[in-house]
Amino acid sequence: MATTGTGRATADRLTTGTAAHLRSFLREPVHLALLVAMPPLVVEGYGRAMSSFPEMPFVSTVPATLGRVNGAVFAAAFLAGLIGLFQVVAARRADDRLAICGFDRATLLASRLGAVLAVALAGAVVTFAVLRWQVTPEAPLVALGALVLAGATYGLLGILLGAVLPRELEGSLALVFVADLDTFLASGLVDVDTALVRALPLHYPHELFRAAVLEGSVATADLRGAVASLAVLLVAVLLVYTRVAGGDHA
């Protein structure tokens, strides 16, 4: 049997790879349970926890609403990050074999990104629906877009973590630590505005989301910052995943 020379088009590989990764995601009950259960638990958990807080002098928003806003960003981001991490770790050796068989790593990464983005979108939609139950966003489409951005950002972070730390437990712990710290510093509960805090991945998506939900505005600077964070992570993932993931390559 002869192979088809240059093979099927890259687009064909991309489609087949993305479909395969999505099937793998949908056939894992734990992933589906996370997608359904995490957003309501986190959004309502954060909201109810914050509802016992007194009104704070430097925060104009009702604490429960602020809690739900923070919870929504955390849920959308962490869910996508976790799935990105699990996908890369679980499929590491199979990915390695697929690459050896001729599936180039850039296309493999693109197909995995496609699957993680789809999960980020699904997570953002579920999270947004849960938020809408108690909070009416002033600019709903922008708010949903900000959640997708938060999910995509952490989806990339999950893939990056999975590439450099290919263990589910250790990777999950690292991810939860980073996401907790990131959400807390971005929440506005503490008045910290340093370059380091602004460099954290959720800072700009959080600002974008908060403004869209509470004020109905789109801060262009925040949007630029969020897209820049995403771009930086994308480059990091491209560099690391294609070199590190899947084994010890020449």
């Binding site: 049997m1 192979t3 088809t4 020379g5 240059t6 093979g7 099927r8 064909d12 590989r13 087949t16 790879g17 395969a20 099937r23 793998s24 056939r27 894992e28 679980a90 499929a91 050796r93 199979a94 390695d96 074999r97 697929l98 690459a99 050896i100 068989c101 001729g102 599936f103 084994g247 010890d248 390559h249 020449a250």
Partner: protein, 272 residues
């Protein structure tokens, strides 16, 4: 049966399809003062010619799987050079497959990787499923297969594109007797068509099937006469494949794996 006839002077056997020279590999801990450094390969040389079947033997932990991973390009050697011509098929010792894809989806995905058209992949799938007897499991997810059936799919993935060089790391682990024999028939067909096959084996009785045998010991690869090697089991080889390769229950591994997806394939892990 050895395939000397496929390696005649004017046959395809003159054509070297894979050559490895001075391969060195050492495993060392990335963390200072933790773990130990193990020198696995120390100047290993190997040549594969079209149409021949070569055995690679050695004790557990001698570095056979490491050598095969270097030959296929999955692992980078510390030193040395590997030259390949033509397409390569690789069957790793531990199936490297996507657990939650079905067998048919797995073949479709790897077919795409090899650059096969849909029709070519479907043809290869049907041919190999019939030959290796896993037709009725095409719609099963890989995680639901028994160890033996998973190994059949593992082997089928290596054969999909009809490679010029086939590198097999204990490919029949968990096979029932019928499939074990079918495997050797398939191998004979492949070598007749000019495919070069290298197989890691632990079975003394198989050595008469090889044209040449390489023995890996203390990091060095030595070519030995296959007939002479037949009587020497000092490397930990097993005398009878029927006692070791066949599924433990003798049922042929046709059933499903454990409900929780646990791999029931016999443990043959080689720690290097």
């Amino acid at each position: 049966m050895p395939n000397k006839e496929n390696s005649s002077d004017d046959g395809p056997g003159d054509r070297t399809v894979l050559r490895a020279r001075d391969i060195e590999k050492t495993y060392a801990s990335r963390v200072p003062l933790v773990g130990r450094t193990v020198e696995v390969l120390d100047g290993a040389d190997l040549t594969l010619r079209a149409g021949e079947i070569v055995g690679i033997v050695g004790a557990n932990g001698s570095g056979k799987s490491t050598l095969l991973e270097i030959l296929v390009g999955s692992l980078a050697p510390d030193a040395g050079r590997v030259e390949r011509s033509g397409t390569v098929g690789w069957c790793p010792q531990e199936p490297r497959l996507y657990d939650r894809l079905t067998v048919a989806e797995t073949i479709d995905l790897f077919g795409t990787a090899y650059g096969l058209s849909e029709a070519e992949a479907a043809d290869a799938r049907d041919r190999l499923a019939d030959r290796l007897d896993f037709e009725r499991f095409l719609d099963y997810q890989v995680r639901h297969l028994s160890g033996g059936n998973r190994q059949k799919v593992n082997l089928a993935v290596a054969l999909l594109h009809d490679p010029d060089v086939l590198l097999l790391d204990e490919p029949y682990t968990g096979f029932d007797w019928e499939t074990y024999l079918a495997f050797w028939d398939l191998t004979a067909d492949l070598t007749e068509r000019g495919t070069a096959v290298a197989i890691i084996s632990h079975f003394v009785s198989e050595r008469e099937r090889f044209d040449r045998v390489y023995e890996l010991r203390d990091g060095t690869l030595t070519e030995r006469d296959s007939a002479a090697a037949t009587g020497d089991a000092t490397d930990g080889s097993v005398a009878d494949p029927s006692a070791a390769a066949v599924d433990g229950d003798g049922s042929g591994g046709e059933g499903l794996g454990d409900a929780d997806g646990t791999d029931r394939s016999p443990g043959t892990g080689e720690v290097v």
